[in-house]
Structure formats: structure tokens, C-alpha cells
Symmetry: C2
Subunit: 246 residues, 2 copies
DNA sequence: CGAGCTCTTGATGTGGCTCAAGAATCGTGG
DNA sequence: CCACGATTCTTGAGCCACATCAAGAGCTCG
């Protein structure tokens, strides 16, 4: 069945950006160790000391599914995707990460998902052992991480409902509303999608063509408008929510 | 599209078993407060004091999606399902719970899923406030719950991969292997499914008819055998794993 | 033994996939 | 600043996996 767009995408990316190791930014474009803005108040104190700021370029593969999960990452800036491949190349994107999201604390042994930068990114990298040790001792940090994991768990369940029972149009509507919601944008009407259609398709269990067609329909029905394929304006949010269902 | 089997199922159950409040078992069929076997060593000590053993009958709705999440539950015995409905009645079953699984600690306000007993069940019910308080103070308990939540999160992600990119046959194969795995059965060849076809369908994003047809195919291909529609024998596990993919 | 389920099987329909070809957009170098 | 190659996006035609609709066959339990 799925002649994998995933593979094309995959190789396209690595052709464009040969995988290089993570580098500490020479001149960090974001707040560094000393002046790091605590994104999650209360946890930075303990974890701050073991966190190492790193930069990743657009297209870079930061973690590979199957590799030992030696680090936990926090997103400071940029957008990333968490993805996984079936042996034959079919791909699923579990989620997109933005500021404040964590990656990697859900595995004991190896990463089950790959982490790839959709845009240039700023991250904090924590050594896994020390990270765990802090969670062990510091109830505050532990509690914070627990809440974060709960949020991720809820998000995963939302997506499950979407993938198991919603139509293509409903999935796209749900996706757009989620994106609007989490970027907490200005008036909630303007949305810049950091990901291409392939990624949206692989996130929602659709094909790139279906995503494209549905977006066109939504535009024709005046629920949204596009100026540039990634620049979405929400014209009729109520109708979009109606369409998205629950 | 989906003329909801969900609704039929729903009303069938409540017709059979009118929703009654949870009762403490008159004569508990399972180890009670005093002699409760710690399912998860290390956490029972603290949480034990606030846990109240309750029994639920087959078909009983224990928590309703949308209601205030006042309690956390631990499964001692039996099988339950976690489900949610779209406004038009399409249903998704996020997971099935068995011994040692928890429900309800992922929500701040209301339950987002309903909890229903597939068989007669024994549960421990924890008041949410006190449960949270213990997690706050006791790093041991917190850490244990964190790990459990991680497992649930990983399970959810597995299902996401399944729902987004696998075919009907692959989904069923994956499901059977998961069920085999978690029941840790005798020789890993015999499987008693506690749930009817409708529930499997609503878990895997399929219809009851498709589930039935695929099961028939698997039997014809000698991957499994049935004696009774819920009594599954795994004849060729390798082929089943091959089929399930990753 | 029979009413009410649940499960199976068949016939037909359709939403979204596949295959194919342009159109827009982006990045790069002249 | 523009040309052009590469990539991404859109659109169309046809097809297929699974849904829907419809019956009948087992179970189960009173």
C-alpha cells in the first residue's frame, strides 16, 4: 500500500543536510546558561546545572529511534518532529514539539522515536542519568515532569481519538485548532505552519494529496484562507470547531 | 459515515446493567486492606492507607467522561476499558486495563475518558487530593507513578503508530501480540480475550465486520486458531510478528 | 428450548489512496 | 534581480481496502 513519501522526505532531508553531530553554539543565539529564562518556573533551579544548551539546524536528526536514550531534551526555540518508521518505510509522526516541550524521558533503554528539527532550533540537553537522579530526589522537579508527561499523554490520547474515528476533513480541522491553541497566537486567527504537507499527512495518518485536497476544500468553504501554503488564516473558527467534533 | 455500533453497545450494556453506584464489596473476593498484596512493591506503603477497595460488576460504568475526576483507580483484578465518544456516537477505546494498571491520574479537572468494567472487577480507589499530596511528598511513590505513566504513554504511542499507518490485518496482529504480551500467559500461545469484537473494532479504528473477517483470514492462514470466539490459540507467532511489523 | 446477543459471511458502496502530471514556491548562482 | 533546477503543493482519474447494509448462524442464559 503506502509507497512511502516518508522515504523520499527522509532522504531528501539528509541529502540537503548531512547528519552532523550536535554542536554547542559558538555564539549562542538564545539566552545561555547564565541568563537562561526559566520556561517552567520551579524546575529550572535543580535541572539548570546539568542542562547543556545545544543548537540544531533545520533538517537535522537529533535523536534516532533505536539508539540508546542517553539524553533528555527541552525545546527552547524552534519546531521539531517526533517520528518513527515501519520497516517498509511507512512513517508516523507522533507529535510536533515547540517551546517548553520535552523529549526522551519516557524511555528506559532506547529512544523509540526519532527527533528531527523542522526549523533551526535551540535546545537544552540533559544527561539522562543525572536527570533521573534529580527526579528521584527532588519532589518539585518530579511533580513538574509528571504534569508535563500527563499533558503529553493527554495529547497522545486526543490524537488517538482523531486517528481512530475521524474523517480526513475532521482530522485537518482538529489539527489546525490544536496548532492554533498551542502557539497561543496573537488573536487566534493567524497560523504559521512550520511543517510541510508530508509531515501533516504522516501525523494524521493521511496522504499528502488528501491533506492538500482537504485544505483546498476548507478554503473554498471559507473556513480558512491561505497566503502561502504554510500561512493559514482562520476565517470561521466556530465552523472549524464544529467540524473537528468533540 | 459510522452508524455507531458504539451506541448500540452502549445502550445494550446499560440496559443489561443499570448504572448503580460503586459499592464496597460485602465480602471482598480479593485480598482486603489488611492483607492486600502489593502489586507494585514500594508504592503500596504510602498509598495503601488512602486506598479503598471497591468492586465493579461486568458492564458497570465506573467513571464517566466529563465528570469531575475525584478519584484515581488501580486495577486489582478483572478487565476494563477506557473509552470516549464523539458527539455523534463514534467511539474510541483508548486502552484495556488489567491488573496493576491505573486510571485517572492524568487529568487535572475532569475525566476525559470513561472507565467501564468488561468483567467483574476488583479495584482500589484513591481520593484524588490525597493521592496528589502523596506524590508531592514521597519521591518514591512519585517516581513509581512516573514510570507507570511512561509505560502508558509508550503504549499510547504504539497504538498511534498502529492506527496511523497499519492495515486492518496488521492492526489485529499487533493487537493480539500486545494482548499475549501483557497477560504474560503460560506458554504465550493461549489467549482469552475479555472483550467482544465491537470493543476490538473501536480500539483499532475498524468495524466489527472487518475484525471478524480478518480473524477468519488469520485462522485460514493458520496463524491462529479459535475454539470459541474469544479463545485464541497462537499457531504461528513468528508469522504474526512478521505481519504486525515493527 | 427460545429470546437476545454476538459473531460471521456476503453483496455493494465510497472515502481516501495511488498514479500521474502540472503549478507554485524556494533556493542558488549568474 | 532574474533564470532555472529542485522541491513542495495542487489537481485529476481510477482503484482498492474497508465501511455499510443485510442475513443468517452460533452462543448463552434464563
Amino acid at each position: 500500500m503506502a509507497t512511502a513519501h516518508a522515504i523520499q522526505q527522509q532522504s531528501a532531508l539528509s541529502r540537503a543536510r548531512p547528519p552532523v553531530g550536535l554542536r554547542r553554539p559558538a555564539a549562542p543565539q538564545f539566552e545561555n546558561d547564565a541568563g537562561l529564562v526559566p520556561i517552567l518556573p520551579g524546575i529550572t533551579t535543580e535541572l539548570h546545572r546539568i542542562g547543556c544548551p545545544v543548537a540544531a539546524e533545520r533538517g537535522q536528526e537529533i535523536c534516532i529511534a533505536g539508539a540508546p536514550a542517553d539524553h533528555v531534551y527541552k525545546v527552547v526555540d524552534g519546531t521539531l518532529r517526533i517520528s518513527r518508521l515501519l520497516p517498509d518505510g511507512r512513517r508516523h509522526i507522533a507529535n510536533f514539539l515547540t517551546q517548553g516541550d520535552f523529549f526522551g524521558f519516557s524511555d528506559i533503554g532506547d529512544y523509540t522515536y526519532s527527533l528531527e528539527a523542522l526549523t533551526d532550533c535551540a535546545l537544552i540537553r540533559y544527561p539522562r542519568r543525572r536527570f533521573d537522579a534529580i527526579l528521584e530526589h527532588d519532589p518539585q522537579a518530579g511533580r513538574q515532569m509528571f504534569r508535563l508527561l500527563c499533558r503529553q499523554f493527554n495529547a497522545a490520547n486526543e490524537l488517538l481519538m482523531t486517528l481512530s474515528r475521524k474523517t480526513a476533513a475532521e482530522r485537518i480541522a482538529t489539527f489546525l485548532l490544536t496548532m492554533i491553541h498551542r502557539q497561543g497566537s496573537q488573536d487566534g486567527r493567524q497560523l504559521m505552519l512550520a511543517m510541510p504537507r508530508v509531515d501533516i499527512a504522516d501525523h494524521l495518518g493521511l496522504t499528502i494529496e488528501t491533506v492538500s485536497r482537504v485544505v483546498t476544500q476548507l478554503r473554498q468553504r471559507r473556513l480558512i484562507d491561505l497566503r502561502g501554503s504554510n500561512d493559514v488564516a482562520i476565517l470561521n473558527r466556530d465552523a472549524l470547531e464544529e467540524l473537528a467534533g468533540d
